[in-house]
């Protein structure tokens, strides 16, 4: 019996007159790779933003690890175990790759200003562990050779991978990837697919927004399809591929009511 990690419960998100998410419910089980797909403007990123606390849902609730995320600050949600990457890379450009990852690792550190100034044992321990863990993650993502370069000087592919490393450093239970393959060539996409599988094999649960259909179909266990802020389908990749509502949403069906 799979354990339920996160559930969106009738989540609605409105911006003024625009309804970005309309009564969306789905869940993700521990150890799963769930794909979140949909045409442009379907509400996928909004969905991420609600889950990670960037937006507070107009209605509905998100449960994570058995508890509601309502009222939590963004950094508290991160500490609970949800980490994300960004559709448009948002690294800390003037910090080195290693430091970027260490910021993620610091989410669970406690040493404050005094401990740092006096080099108290708690600081030494956390600093050493944090550095080691960050190096490990850079190694894991295959970008350790540029670890001491400033993030802004890294090539695009490295920056994408660095974002994933930084997110993993926060020690998440759920990793949310927002179009991690954007701008990748087929070979790089193939690599990324392998990587996502490896990440899952290490015990992480993955929520994946992706535009590339072959990638989504190959790597995910289950797919949720959004269109105009509503969930129009949910199922295995095979089911989704043959779902008439999904096909209509993607290819356009002028007179057909899609619901």
């Amino acid at each position: 019996m799979p354990e339920r990690l996160m559930a969106l419960d009738h989540v609605t998100m409105r911006f003024g007159g625009v309804t970005a998410l309309d009564d969306v419910s789905f869940h993700i089980d521990t150890g799963e790779i769930l794909g979140l797909i949909g045409p442009n403007g379907a509400g996928k990123t909004t969905c991420f933003n609600v889950v990670t606390g960037v937006y507070e849902a107009t209605a509905g609730d998100v449960h994570f690890d058995g508890r509601s995320l309502k009222g939590l600050k963004r950094y508290q949600i991160t500490k609970r175990g949800i980490a994300r990457t960004f559709q448009n890379i948002r690294l800390f450009p003037e910090m080195t790759a290693l430091e970027n990852v260490m910021v993620g690792g610091d989410a669970h550190h406690r040493a404050g200003a005094l401990a740092a100034m006096l080099h108290l044992p708690v600081y030494r321990r956390e600093q050493a562990a944090g550095t080691a863990r960050a190096r490990e993650l850079l190694e894991f993502m295959g970008i350790a050779d540029r670890g001491d370069d400033l993030a802004r000087n890294l090539p695009y592919g490295y920056q994408r991978r660095l974002e994933i490393a930084r997110a993993l450093a926060t020690g998440p239970k759920l990793l949310c990837l927002d179009e991690p393959a954007a701008g990748f060539n087929p070979a790089e996409k193939q690599q990324l697919m392998e990587l996502i599988r490896t990440i899952r094999a290490q015990g992480y649960t993955v929520l994946l927004i992706e535009h590339d259909m072959s990638l989504v179909m190959n790597v995910t266990d289950r797919i949720v399809v959004l269109d105009f802020g509503r969930k129009i389908a949910e199922g295995s990749p095979a089911e989704i591929q043959s779902d008439p509502a999904v096909i209509a949403a993607y290819l356009g069906a002028p007179d057909e009511e899609v619901a």
Partner: protein, 382 residues
């Protein structure tokens, strides 16, 4: 318009310029074995202490101005101030336009405790002044730092002026005449007087080195990383688990405390303080020190502090007006930002820096039409 963001856009190229310029040097330094670094550092510090004794030609400000007095009474203070303000502006990316206010609070606490209303020894007033300014920083910061945008810039601007005007109008603080006969530092047989100013320099230099030592440790810790992360991308920092308000308040309090400390040193050296010293021009001069140094690194702050304090003394004949230095700042702006301060957004978008594209435009304040996933189908930013 967001002043804080525009300000950071202004200083970013300067920061990058310095950072790239010194990157090879930094790498070479890191490659040196530990003993070598220690040795070089020790020699450098020894030379710093010996500076007024050696009184090196060309570098010295004499015969115009007493070199030792400039070192201890001006340069070290500006370096300290730049270090403190750099924590707020350069590291955490906030905008403080009233830093002279904290400087004034420190100086006045020292004046009140050692001369006006009590006769404490100078050294005893120092920790009190640091605590009071830190508290002032927390009181000022806790309501304003919760908000995004320019609230802090506005509040600090007001704070700087309020402090000056209060000091000028309250008799308890000496009103326009200020406070005189402030106690000088006394350490056993060390003579701190007007003629022999070397001890001031040595004492103040020691304090500054102590501050640098502690700041370096902070910068290399979780605290420093959190500050830089906030400066670079506050939203992303928070989503990576950084409690942004807490760390911004910490930066602001530490910056305030260092400003207060510098104020105490100023009062101890001068023996006399009056309100007009702490005007808005002083705040802007402090700001210029941080900006010139590249804002963000400790070395940069030191360089900036030295630049704005040493050069006017060395080239006394040019010191008709401080606006000369603002001229230099303007030249910097023209070199690094020929497109000007305002109206640059489109240009930046054209340059398409990845970090400039908001992932959640609703929060960033863009129009709602964009609010639902603004741009999909990734563009490649090399």
């Amino acid at each position: 318009m967001n002043l804080t963001a525009e300000f950071q856009n202004l200083v970013r190229p300067i920061r990058r310029f310095w950072s790239d310029l010194f990157a090879p040097l930094r790498r070479a330094w890191a490659r040196q074995p530990r003993p070598a670094r220690w040795a070089i550092g020790a020699i450098g510090i020894a030379l710093l202490y010996l500076l007024p004794v050696i009184n090196p030609p060309i570098i010295t400000t004499e015969p115009g101005v007493n070199f030792s007095s400039v070192l201890g009474g001006t340069i070290v203070l500006y370096v300290l101030v730049a270090l403190g303000l750099n924590v707020v502006i350069g590291m955490a990316g906030m905008l403080d336009l009233g830093y002279a206010g904290f400087y004034a609070v420190g100086a006045y606490v020292c004046g009140v405790l050692t001369s006006k209303h009590a006769s404490w020894p100078w050294i005893a007033s120092l920790p009190v002044a640091v605590l009071v300014t830190m508290l002032a920083g927390v009181i000022l910061g806790s309501p304003t730092l919760r908000l995004r945008g320019d609230y802090l810039a506005i509040v600090t601007l007001g704070f700087g002026e309020i402090i000056r005007i209060v000091a000028k109008n309250v008799d308890w603080l000496g009103a326009a005449e200020g406070i005189s006969n402030i106690k000088r530092p006394v350490f056993d047989q060390w003579e701190f007087d007007v003629i022999n100013t070397d001890p001031y320099y040595w004492l103040y230099l020691t304090i500054t080195i102590g501050v640098v030592f502690l700041l370096r440790r902070l910068v290399n810790s979780r605290v420093g990383r959190a500050w830089t992360a906030i400066r670079e991308d506050e939203d992303a920092a928070e989503l990576m688990g950084v409690p942004t308000f807490k760390f911004k308040l910490l930066a602001f309090a530490i910056g305030a405390a260092i400003g207060g400390l510098a104020g105490v040193l100023f009062a101890g050296k001068n023996g006399l303080i009056y309100p007009t010293t702490f005007d808005i021009q002083l705040s802007i001069l402090f700001l210029a020190a941080v900006v010139l140094g590249g804002s963000g690194s400790i070395t940069g702050a030191i360089v900036g502090g030295v630049l704005v304090s040493y050069l006017p003394e060395r080239f006394r004949f040019l010191k008709e007006s401080r606006y000369f230095w603002f001229g230099i700042v303007l030249v910097f702006i023209m070199v690094f930002r020929p497109q000007g301060l305002i109206g640059s957004r489109r240009r930046r978008r054209e340059l398409a820096e990845p970090q400039d594209q908001p992932d959640f435009p609703g929060v960033a304040g863009s129009d709602l039409a964009e609010a639902v996933e603004p741009h999909e189908g990734g563009t490649r930013h090399a």
